[in-house]
Assembly symmetry: C2
Homo-oligomer: 337 residues x 2
């Protein structure tokens, strides 16, 4: 325990080795990780967490690198977490990292960590969120979280970000609609990278159409609920964010300053609309709820024993008992009703 507290103090004092050791500690989970995260909690909540996601081949890593260079030029420290849910290998073997190593190596204002699959997505999302907490407490004002892969993993990991960039590129097939359905929902900023290639304008227009369609559906869907308003139409309360589409040629740095400006605008939107503090509150509520549920179930197990639970599960599976009746019986046995 003494060593853990020492690590936290060294982290807060800016010790880079302590940072690396604490990250390994929280990645490995367990009681020591819980204690370290509890000790770090008062020092977090300041970093702007920016998620960068998109299909392979869109140039996500290059976008992340060029953004990092701009932040560094303004002397802003940057934490980079590269998450690959499809790879079982951890520790910096990802392609994007190798490019990054070359460009950003030796800059003490940049901290890079690669994270790979740990068998299940929930585990990876949890570990990513914990590593973010460590970098946040260590005082990195900007944390870029790059996600490789498509679908569920992006959405899970995007939950940890304040601002989510979805990177597209022309010439990756016309399957835009199929992929976008889920991913567009999480995009705060859309990036059309490789914008000097043929089809870039087509990609941009397709994205714009989907955004417009999404807005339309939103109005239609929420129109009913709010139809009591004066004009009988959906009236939005407060400031709204319209995801911009940024065109970049990241490999040459083109359009990246404008993208950085869009990220800063989204940060200000979050602060001014109250969305930032709402999000902090929602996260606190979710974390407390999760912990309470875990502890309560453990408490129940201790009171009535795991045998009783196992018997109930077997009876439900055998269709002798339904789950609602079983839950009521177990809680009554435990004196918890």
């Amino acid at each position: 325990v003494a060593e853990k507290i020492d690590l936290v103090e060294r982290l807060l004092a800016g010790d880079r080795r302590a940072l690396a050791r604490l990250i390994s500690l929280v990645e490995n989970d367990g009681q020591a990780a819980v204690r370290a995260l509890s000790a770090l909690h008062p020092h977090g909540g300041r970093a702007h967490i920016v998620g960068v996601t998109g299909a392979p081949g869109t140039g996500k890593s290059t976008v992340v690198n060029e953004l990092t260079k701009l932040y560094r030029a303004a002397d802003v420290r940057v934490g980079i977490i590269a998450v690959d849910p499809t790879s079982p290998f951890s520790g910096g073997a990802l392609l994007g990292d190798r490019i990054r190593m070359r460009d950003l190596a030796g800059d003490p204002g940049v901290f890079i960590r690669s994270m790979a699959s740990r068998g299940n997505l929930g585990g990876l999302a949890r570990a990513t969120s914990d590593v973010i907490k460590v970098l946040d407490a260590a005082g990195y004002p900007t944390i870029l979280v790059e996600t490789v892969g498509a679908g569920q993993s992006e959405v899970e990991i995007a939950r940890a970000a304040h601002t989510t960039l979805v990177v597209e590129a022309p010439g990756l097939g016309d399957d835009v609609q199929a992929i976008k359905a889920g991913v567009l929902e999480i995009a705060d900023i859309l990036v059309v990278n490789k914008a000097d290639r043929e089809g870039a304008e087509h990609t941009r227009r397709a994205l714009q159409m989907m955004l417009d369609l999404g807005n339309e559906q939103h109005v239609r869907h929420h129109g009913k609920v709010m139809s009591a308003g004066p004009a009988g139409r959906a009236e939005s309360a407060g400031i709204q964010w319209q995801p911009p589409i940024c065109a970049t040629v990241a490999i040459r740095g083109e359009g990246v300053p404008e993208l950085q400006a869009a990220i800063a605008q989204h940060y200000h939107y979050l602060q001014e609309s109250g969305a930032w503090s709402q999000r902090e509150r929602a996260r606190a509520a979710a974390e407390l709820d999760h912990l309470l549920r875990d502890r309560l179930v453990n408490h129940l197990f201790e009171r009535i024993g795991s045998d009783a639970i196992e018997r109930a599960i077997a009876q439900i599976a055998a269709r002798q008992l339904d789950a609602h009746t079983a839950a009521a019986m177990l809680l009554a046995d435990a004196g918890l009703v």
Copy 2:
């Protein structure tokens, strides 16, 4: 309550109107739904639930229709649930349904239900799972669950299926890799539909490569854990399922009998490997766990009041208290430690 019991009895007696009313009842959630599902529970667990998913334009609906015709030719009753997480409209307005209505309308051995988004994915997955339970209890031996959309929704809804078909088609762009990463994991059977089109063989080979790659990674990933085996290599315990790739031209019914045979083989695999009963047990455990957690949290709220919880959340969000310490304090206050 009397009416609900009556509905359940009529359902079990084969009354089609009772089936439709019970489905509406469980879709709308609430206490009446809970009671109905509890009453139905002993009568479920027999249906083979087959999920059919894939990007728009692959011909999923046609595959579902042609499979249904084959089942009907063998006098097997079929329940069809068409789920569209991207549409806020419910009640049979989906394109696939209109085709189905034409082909299958008037057959009393087929029951079709469309389900659309209810604002959140969790709600849709829950409702889908409940509608499956009603059809299962009503004695439909085969239930086809067709999902439109890509990504998270497919995965969520696939959890309800015993056997998941992922439908591909040539000419939808070369983005196979991007989409497949997540979706391949859930596929028990891969279908290359529109197999008479140019590029079908390319699509088949790409899928085969990804399957092979997946197997390789699996061996490599699990190789370490199991390296104590005699040959120092991964030795699988029990029967393994290798997802087959079925080529179909569903619009002409070609390849559909072979696909139906593959579905039957997967059913036998599930039964013989013990995976079917493991799955029933896992589902019972998850359902009980979920209910216990909900009830325990409600119990805690009643004991200490929601004000205390709200205060704790505010303190966590303000970084004055960490969630672990807050949870421990609240449980101590409630006398639950």
